[in-house]
Symmetry: D2
Subunit: 488 residues, 4 copies
């Protein structure tokens, strides 16, 4: 058992009987793993399995389970200390550098376990329930089988001004529609499910703080990806399925990422998989802890993505013969600056993390929201600078297919070469890489700088709202009144 290789992970997926629609068509489960619109995402997840099972990365990507003491991947671990959080930040930066700027989608798994773990502990302590015991059993299984769990949070929401029970259609938020001695029956949908067609199991939680009138919406549970009534609808995947034959695009699109909508058509959940059922008072801490834990991750993931972009811009500047120009150097340093500020925010919120009663450790709540606000803007500026350095050829690339046509190859080679030893083919690859990463959609809806930053840990405004709750303006006013001579 223990940590799976990429190959083992892929094989394990073949046993799951997904009900899935891809581009408007229902796909036979046995074809799903190899479907051209799905496989590249599975490859990306498999890449993380390979890295974690690679002994060279053991010190950076594996830990001892606090439950069993066995060696597990960082992706199934619950942080027990600020050091664990910091390891997570560094692991994500490393993986992004290794895979080259592809959303690996597995942070949803990484970050989805800690908050349920800690909140069920609090519930059991306060209420005498046994949710935490159940969740621990689930977690042991996840760790033992090295499962890829995705976290299902976001509901459709309908009219966003209305609370769940006020909606015209009560299913706009996922809810319990029945309950018996064996378990509960749930109905609704979850949006933005990164990696959902590559995951073994889902954890489902509410998406907002709920009140007593919304009790039936206060449910949390785990559910295997092929539970009866679960329907997956793959999100729009712009273009990677059309890529055929030998090509740089095909090579670059070996890895991709996806998200999907998951619909729950009266799905039955047995009690042992239910971790909250009506305890709406705990939805606040459940959601905010998840948010902080997840935001922290971006302090590693975005700097790692930026490392690749900065490197590509520098390599292109070198091939133009202008790498030493002061204006180019200044832009590269600006990109590095922006990237390292994100990393600083990641390190700081991890290092100032705090322990919850369950033992799980969470990042500093103020600084993790500050990080989120940062990563919502910096990538745009990094992209702008990369495009400015790369220049117009990033958008007007002679297709690499020309190099495979002997009629035209010599002319392309002649005219598209740069200053240095960089061969024309390598220049085309670097331009194509940046184009796909910064402008294109071929690598999947979540990849690319903008895809990532849009989706990362919810909207900008949400982080502001969280921040507002966390900061103590009254204390700051007191400080100012003292400073201005009002208070002595």
């Amino acid at each position: 058992m223990g940590i799976k290789t990429g190959e083992e992970y892929i094989e394990s997926l073949r046993n799951i009987r997904f009900k899935a629609y891809v581009d408007g068509k229902k796909i036979d489960p046995k074809d799903l793993v190899d479907h051209p619109l799905v496989r590249p995402s599975i490859n990306a997840v498999a890449f993380t399995y390979d890295l974690c099972s690679n002994p060279d990365y053991a010190d950076k990507l594996t830990v001892s389970s606090h439950l069993t003491g066995e060696k597990i991947s960082v992706f199934t671990h619950i942080a027990q200390s600020p050091e664990d959080l910091e390891r997570k930040v560094r692991a994500l930066r490393l993986i992004q550098q290794e895979i080259g700027n592809i959303c690996i989608m597995r942070c949803s798994s990484l970050d989805g376990l800690a908050s349920p773990y800690s909140v069920t502990y609090d519930m059991d302590q306060d209420l005498g329930t046994d949710y935490h015991k159940r969740f621990k059993e689930f977690l042991k299984r996840v760790q033992k089988d090295d499962l890829y769990v995705t976290l299902a949070v976001t509901d459709p929401k309908g009219d966003r001004r209305l609370r769940p029970h006020e909606q015209k259609d009560p299913d706009m938020y996922l809810r319990m529609v029945d309950k018996n001695s064996k378990g509960i029956v749930v109905r609704g949908a979850k949006f933005h499910q990164s990696g959902t067609l590559a995951s073994h199991v889902k954890i489902v939680t509410p998406t907002r703080v709920l009140s007593s009138e919304d009790k039936d919406y206060a449910i949390m549970f785990s559910v295997p990806s092929d539970a009866k009534g679960l329907i997956h609808i793959l999100d729009r995947q712009p273009a990677n399925h059309f890529i055929e034959g030998e090509s740089v695009e095909r090579e670059l699109c070996k890895y991709s990422s996806h998200a999907g909508m998951v619909i729950f058509e009266d799905v039955f959940i047995p009690w042992e998989d239910v971790y909250m059922c009506g305890e709406y008072q705990y939805t606040g801490s459940l959601i905010s802890r998840f948010g902080h834990y997840h935001r922290c991750t971006y302090g590693g993931c975005f700097p790692g993505q930026s490392d690749v972009i900065i490197g590509a811009a520098a390599a292109l500047a070198e091939s133009h013969g202008v790498e030493k120009d002061p204006s180019i150097q200044d832009k590269l340093l600006e990109m590095i600056y922006l990237s390292e500020v994100m990393f600083s925010c990641g390190i700081a919120c991890a290092h100032l993390g705090f322990k919850t009663p369950s033992g799980a450790c969470f990042p500093d709540p103020i600084l993790s929201n500050v990080l989120k606000l940062n990563i919502a803007k910096a990538p745009y500026e990094i992209a702008r600078l990369a495009e400015d350095i790369a220049g117009g050829n990033m958008i007007t690339i002679p297709p690499e297919s020309n190099l495979r046509n002997p009629e035209i190859k010599p002319l392309i080679d002649k005219y598209f070469k740069g200053a240095e030893g960089t061969p024309t083919e390598d220049r085309i690859k670097l331009f194509t890489y940046l184009n796909l990463t910064l402008l294109g959609g071929e690598r999947g809806s979540l990849s690319g700088v903008f895809g990532s930053t849009c989706g990362a840990a919810g909207p900008y405004q949400a982080a502001k709202v969280h921040l507002r709750k966390m900061v103590d303006l009254e204390e700051k006013k007191k400080i100012a009144r003292r400073a201005s001579g009002i208070l002595k």
Copy 2:
């Protein structure tokens, strides 16, 4: 004669025997107009022909030729006054609003005629040549036949630290390799040729200021698109050829844009089409006048593009039920602010335009560079704000194809609907539109906010260099020395 309709324009293209490579394959000229990777761009240009020949737009998109007095399209006119320049700015904003955020590529035509016109005039006055006379004949033909001319400026450049004659391969800049009593023979290549496979004829000019050692590179001429020795290589067109059947993507990709590399394999140019041949001293004003004239255009084109993006963001906010939220309103106003600053810069540089001896009017040189610096940053911020308002669903859209599968349509309709009357289908269209415009590449390499801003009128740094030449720092120092009591 006079102004062509879109249909007439498309038919006229069928007579041109382009030598062209698309995705590594040579295309038979008779198939080119209908090639799935080329036709959408031709549609975009045809759209501008249709608008100009539409009587409802006559006051905005047509003028009287200053040469013949006949009614011509703004796209073949040489501005004779600041009012003409301002009309150009407004025309571009209007067209972008009408076609919806597609680079129409025709501004290269619009902006490529004035600088040769005015500089050949100066040359004839100074040197007794008859370049201007020849150019005027060419221009009359362009106006009479309503031709789409593209301007070919950018050379491959090789090692960018070296001047043309210093390059290891002398063809890194296009040059005259032979000359006789009939004309000249030219060799080299031009990059970033927007709309090149949709144009009747090209004007070719140097790309940088040249000195006496680079005399053979100081050549300017016009050349029909099917001249012997001209080879077109269509740039990478990410994905639009894969779109088949009925779909919102297909509908949205009816229009597109393209660029290409054009290679000159010892092309013969008869003297009557040559407008400069060795007069390197005029390359400075030729290039800088083109730059200012072209930059001014962006003061209309980018605000027009932004109008559509702002509208889409507002429509989505409305369909979420959050349009009135102060944070949404603030973001929409920020977008409008950014857009109107670009427009203000466009109006100001047009209004402060100045007449050259030829009668052609050019925008203010300082303010047109200021405009360029502005449009190089603002669109990123506008895109960021649009994505922030649209939210995660812009990257995780249930494909519209699901609506055509009755098994799944009811569930998509149920869960993807928003607050207001906006039908699910319209929401999917708006999300898809923004995705294609801001993140995707399906609409062609030049379209989308980032494609446009990258390529627009050359690199950011070039505008700074131009600006440096134009501003009088010594005068400002004098003002400061007076202000600080040093000068009395």
Copy 3:
């Protein structure tokens, strides 16, 4: 008569019997003009009188009155065309360059006349009143005697959530407390009165849009600065009164600016000076027209201020020997860019101005608010860049007094000299100039970049609110719906 010289203006002020408190003490009116905290501001206004009466500036700073045809200063003119508005923008830029970055306070006069002029015209047309006739008489007097009029708008406002009649103290907005056959009696206060102790007369208008319940607050009138019951309280003037003897500070503080609070203790206004009395429906256009007219001015004033700052930064860089460094050049160009964008906005909103029925011409409403948003941010960035170029010595200047002590002068000369011919004394002057302009308060509460930008034409948010009213989001939505294939 006609345009006064500076000296004539100063003499004319001596006849006004101001009731004024300076630094907590009542000042004898005969001492006010020469009071060390007031005189520098009067000098600044006198400077504008001198320029306007200087024949060398006649084409830029004088016009023909549209009422009398006589030559008048731009400061008493009502713009009759976009050209007039543009002249205003250029005049302000010129004056700032000449006086060196001092708020001349006279734009309140310049901009305060047009809105009452045009709105009283509308009222007379609609209501049969004779307000416009009265106002025209007033204006003729202002033009004939070349008076400095200040515009009194901003009320104390008390609790800003409440409308005037809802306030606990009804005097939180200035109001009519009595009325008889001779005239009206008014009570209240006006804040932020730039140049109030240097002006002959005030025009008083409401500060917000009023409804029928606030009828008594809907009053507009003119009042001489020494009317009975008018009390002036000079605002905090940081430090210029302490400067004595020969010094660069004294030289630099020859000009200054001030603002003050003006209290109306039951002031009687005869009917011939009353221009609105209860017609609350006109307060909306009165205020918004004033806002647009005034905002436009900043398109000249801030670029002019920036010219001096840019020049000082360049001169200091030169004296450090680093003017040619790419990073210095880049910062100077960035400053120029920011400054010229403000100018572009000024020119654009002037050029797109529109005529009201009265004949008075007003700037484009959208673009003038866009300009305001721009000038609320750019000066901070310009200041930051200037400080970055000037370096630490801008805050740690050896006082110029040392140069007048022979013991220490040689050491200062030895160690504080720079690279070039710039003498130590000139370096100290440039550093001191920038320090006073960017960091210090000695030149009066309104001067300095930050003072100006804070106060300029009301708060940032107000411009956003105006902008919101002006822009047509529905039209933009329609455009987007067409672009995304929803509307055909």
Copy 4:
């Protein structure tokens, strides 16, 4: 012994016979401590002595000396661990909150000791010198007597393009002019000496990396503030000496800060105080370690300053009755965001600190430069937002002296009151506080947001240059070449 109180510190200064010029006049040493232009700065330093000797702050502001085990102030401690660095960051934030946004100048002491300590250790190890032994003796004395040491780094530099020995005047950088068995004789000057007239002793180091030709400039030593030949010239102190009598200004100017130029007129330094003498190869690490150590400090100091400004803005918004307005809330959160990013950078560079062979611990070199770039911009934005919230009254404050004139007090009270219970006097204090902090110069040349950020740890460009040295672009290129399929 041990930690001094503020009073003890002030008394200890009275024994120092400074040779000092203030505002061009030589001051008798016995009058210096109480001179109105110097005392407020001494008060600020005394404030830090009082806090450190206050038992309530012992856990935050004191540590055990690693040399003697005795309790010492954080200001004389050499960090032995990342925890020590983090304590420094927190200590500075705390002190800024307590003193209210006054530059306490003592970080020069705090940060000036570690780099000489570690570099002398390396020198002794490599070269067999006994510099570290001497320095340790010096440090023990500093800790025992709780001395305020200032670090003298910045030379006049003359023509900045030239190295020290290339300057026309060889004294443009401080140098050894003589040497004998007793010690060395030094000549030159040091600029920007924060707190120099409040310090017991100075450590003098080179300001740039030196080569063998500049050997005589490679000197480091300590020198008492009243050594023969030392001349202090107090920098321009805008206005605080004029403030007399009871006033809010006087109250707010109780604390201030100063800097000065220190001239070395052939000063003799005995060998036991010399810590480098010609070993130019060590100047690189000496300077860069100092830079990193010092930059880290700003991660505490600027957030602490921001806390007060944010509090003042919030208190004023409250008193206007608009604290809950979404646009106000958004601005306050933006300020908090900017402030906490600086704090995150401080925590991160401290936490990732590394130990040198001497045992002294230094912050992460990349992240400390990233922090510096951050604090060079964020304070301007914080100031802009504070001014935007405070509004025009921040620049047009009725002077508080009016409240002491019974004639006018009732009117000020009536009209200047706000919405809530905040008394008029408190509103005036808050406005005055913000005015002095953000716009004014009365609190000394280094205080105020802009003063601080200008001077903080050298110019922006220097941090970029450092960053350039530290980052490994080749590694990033390799990553990108792998990602784009060039390297396998």
